[in-house]
Point group: C2
Chain length 211, copies 2
């Protein structure tokens, strides 16, 4: 029999996942990431270590799982922007998803704590940056497709990739800043300031590669 389309089974799985994630994050905040073993997490949830790895591919995955979903949402947000809009502004608007995440005071506190955990562990930070890199690749392809459909000359994939990376540098700088120095109230202002300062001059940025 085929799957029923993601019914009860999938819902249950998602519930278990979030339960594991919450328990693990609590342990991470209390004892630190490296100091918390997978066995401890599994014991705290009440399952075997083997089952833990049936829900999360790795220990890092428990924290960075949200990021993957964020990547998909971001690509959708960029795709929803008008095609005539300069790419930089589309990215800027799409980053509004992050701003929304920092809207609630409670959620803001939590996100900042998670970010501090990530930047406090070299292993986690590495995995985090790698996922950001993947998201950037997806966004680059998204914008490449959009630019190719437009009237201008053929877009330059390398320059597009650099621009997406530049926008993410602004995002990363703003997130890191509020995670380190506290005061997460003005996250939007920080992001705004960085993206205004680094806005590329030639916003059209076409000029196909001289082959």
């Amino acid at each position: 029999m085929m799957t029923t389309g993601g019914g009860l089974r999938e819902a249950s799985r998602r519930a278990v996942r979030s339960c594991i994630a919450e328990t693990a994050e609590a342990l991470f905040i209390a004892r630190g990431f490296e100091e918390t073993t997978v066995d401890e997490i599994a014991a705290a949830v009440g399952m075997s270590q083997r089952s833990f790895f049936r829900y999360f591919a790795s220990k890092d995955d428990v924290i960075l799982d949200n990021l993957s979903r964020f990547g998909a949402d971001l690509a959708a947000a960029v795709g929803a922007r008008p095609a005539e809009e300069p790419e930089w502004d589309s990215l800027h608007r799409a980053f509004g998803l992050v701003v929304e995440r920092f809207a609630d005071r409670e959620r803001r506190e939590h996100e900042a704590a998670v970010q501090r955990i990530i930047e406090g562990s070299p292993r986690l930070l590495a995995a985090y940056l790698q996922r950001l890199d993947r998201i950037q690749q997806h966004l680059t392809e998204e914008l490449m497709g959009r630019a190719a459909a437009g009237p201008g000359p053929a877009p330059d994939r390398m320059v597009m990739r650099a621009m997406v990376g530049s926008a993410f540098a602004c995002l990363h700088a703003a997130v890191s800043h509020i995670a380190a120095d506290g005061d997460p109230e003005r996250f939007e202002q920080h992001l705004e300031r960085a993206m205004a300062a680094l806005r590329p001059a030639g916003i059209g940025l076409a000029s196909s590669e001289p082959s």
Copy 2:
């Protein structure tokens, strides 16, 4: 007894390190990174696994060791630039170190192969991005100190961090591009094109944070 200031002992150590690195890279190219175990590397060099870890802190370190030295060189190159020069241009000139690395045909081939190994393994790519992040932090501090000594207003660390990240996005895009599509001849042109397109409009970028 104190160290003699880095004499024969250090030279020998460096020789062993490069021997290990060469052997390991050959194995990585032949069999892949994940498929090559530390035991195999140690056996190929003719030493125990324990001794391997006395020369390299981790398996990743074998490949990414050059990167750390590159970070130090880069900071020095930026520090050697005139203080009045816009930060973006100082970074651009400092990236000349990478351009030089791609000058020799043989070396260029090798660097591209290493880059392909890095980007082919998620684990390695993560560690690579993390080291790039550290280098960016160092460069940010370097440029912050330079800007603080100048006549202008107090510089904004977050914006400075974003700008350094943007410059590295250009560098990363150019390096990735030649590693993927081959044709490493025009690396300098690629880098030039990206950095010209993403050059910030307000190059002075002071405007201290509104506290």
